[in-house]
């Protein structure tokens, strides 16, 4: 059997965990799930047994405790592989699991061919490059890149079994002691339908006034490139890309952004890209759906004026 850590939010399994359950079935073995704290309905996801971990100390997230539990269950069930979603939590729990067991870990896999030897395809450079690798391990540890594997429902009445992990003080040393809610307001970059984004070509902090104006007219979020955050023109929370935010708007408007692979790594989910750039040869102009060549300082205000006219 293979064991999958299933994360929950608001009482439901999160999509990246369901994607992981789908990928786990490619091992051709029964799939067991570990749920922490509470059960959730997995009957449509091909799970033979859902193990629900319960312990007084599990009220607050404690990554080492999650890793310890996952290991205890993997040993108890003699799991032939252990998987989790390639989320922040999934990756950190699996890294800790790998550390305590001395096993290799392949992060952010997009496919698995059960061996031996087991081979995986995994993301590098935030998805700008793929790696095919052999995972030489008696118990492969794998995280699955989010939103790559489509969820395939498979109906199976999962047995739900309680699981009582043994946790030490050491497992609970690192735990969430406080949650600070984010201040509301503004259009969130991850959820925006339109993102108007500026790069070094915007020229200055003040230059972003025309970007903000267009974003305001479109109900869009403002984004930017790393050149802009490094210069201190915008906060890092606006940065799109490999080390910034990944966006998935209907339209992404890239103004004065050259289109480095690390910026494009944040745009994989964008439905349409409009590039505005004075250099027709810029990679962004080749990798966009629509282009306007020229000076953004003229083009962006002209688009705003045109929108005002038709509104």
């Amino acid at each position: 059997m293979v064991l999958v850590l299933v994360e929950q939010a608001g009482g439901n399994a999160i999509d990246p965990s369901l994607q992981t359950l789908t990928l786990a079935r490619s091992f051709g073995q029964p799939v067991h799930a570990l749920l922490v704290g509470s059960a959730t309905d997995l009957t449509q996801h091909g799970v033979a047994v859902a193990h629900v971990a319960q312990h007084v100390a599990l009220g607050a997230y404690a990554p080492d405790a999650w890793a310890a539990m996952l290991n205890q269950l993997a040993v108890q069930l003699n799991a032939s592989a252990v998987l989790a979603a390639g989320t922040d939590r999934g990756n950190e729990v699996m890294a800790r699991f790998a550390a305590r067991t001395g096993l290799p870990l392949a992060a952010n896999c997009t496919s698995v061919s059960p061996g031996p030897p087991l081979t995986v395809t995994r993301l590098r450079w935030g998805g700008s490059l793929l790696e095919e690798a052999r995972l030489n391990s008696e118990r492969p540890l794998i995280t699955v890149a989010p939103y790559v594997v489509p969820i395939e429902p498979s109906s199976m009445p999962a047995d739900v079994e309680p699981f009582a992990p043994e946790l030490t003080d050491e497992n609970l040393l690192v735990r969430v002691v406080e949650h600070v809610a984010a201040p509301g307001g503004g259009v969130s970059l991850t959820e925006a339908k339109v993102v108007v984004s500026g790069g070094r070509g915007v020229g200055s902090k003040e230059g972003f006034a025309i970007i903000e104006e267009l974003a305001g007219l479109l109900g869009a979020a403002v984004g930017c490139s790393r050149a802009v955050t490094s210069a201190g023109w915008r906060p890092h929370t606006d940065q799109v890309g490999q080390t910034g935010t990944k966006v998935a708007p209907d339209v992404y408007i890239a103004c004065g952004i050259s289109g480095a692979t690390q910026h494009m790594a944040g745009l994989k989910g964008a439905k349409r890209i409009l590039a505005i750039n004075s250099d027709a040869q810029a990679p962004m102009m080749q990798n966009a759906d629509y282009t306007v060549a020229g000076d953004l300082k003229e083009i962006v205000p002209a688009i705003s004026a045109e929108i005002r006219k038709v509104k």
Binding site: A98, A107, W125, L173, V176, H179, S230, K268, I303, V310
Partner: protein, 254 residues
Amino acid sequence: MRVLACIKRVPITGGRIVLTDDSLAIDTRHLGFTMSPHEECGVEEAVRIIEAGGGDSVVLTLGPPEAVEQLRDAMALGIDRAIHLQTDGREWDGEATAAALTEAIKADEAASGRFDLVFFGNESADSGGFQVGARVAYALARPCVTGLKRVTIEGASVRCEQEVEGGRDVYVVPLPAVLTVKEGLNLPRYPSVPGRMRAGRKPVTATNPVRPEPRLELVRLVVPAGQGRRAESLGTGAAAAPAVVEMLRKAGVL
């Protein structure tokens, strides 16, 4: 305080990734190199902590001889000295990297005293293994908090903030600790000219660890197929505005 930052040399890939003929590496003949933005924030944080409280800061890398450039970059930002675990340029997997870094940390601590904090990037820019920090922390039996956007030293503890859905999760752990950080933790300074000159004179200790056979073994790299975008021109200059508005309308966002 003694603070360590671990960094990795990676190519700056530009607009298109080109592979070597054997597809085992990126063709870097025409590329510059850097450390990951995450790691640069780790370096900056280490420098700020020592500036504020006094002590000693060290930067550590496992990489080819040329990685000394990234060590100098870190020292130009204010790190005091460097440790270079030299390789022949072949890739080391996360497990092997962590083992070599752990050994180097233990050796340095035996000679110069314990590091109160060890900084890592949340993930390396190139291989994105998401694991070296946690592995080193476990081997050193120290608490590890990952993906941090704010770090505050509070006496013998460190308050760590992680960005999560809807806000921030806070952890407080005792020192010594291992922290993995993300870009946005701080805004790294630009190295000054005197900073660069001083960096050239700061000490670099080099050793040559033996590379174990990787258990996560690279078979080949593949550049993913493009997303099939066709780059339709909507025109040039301000005159293109009506065509842009028409496109926005068709896309259903106006």
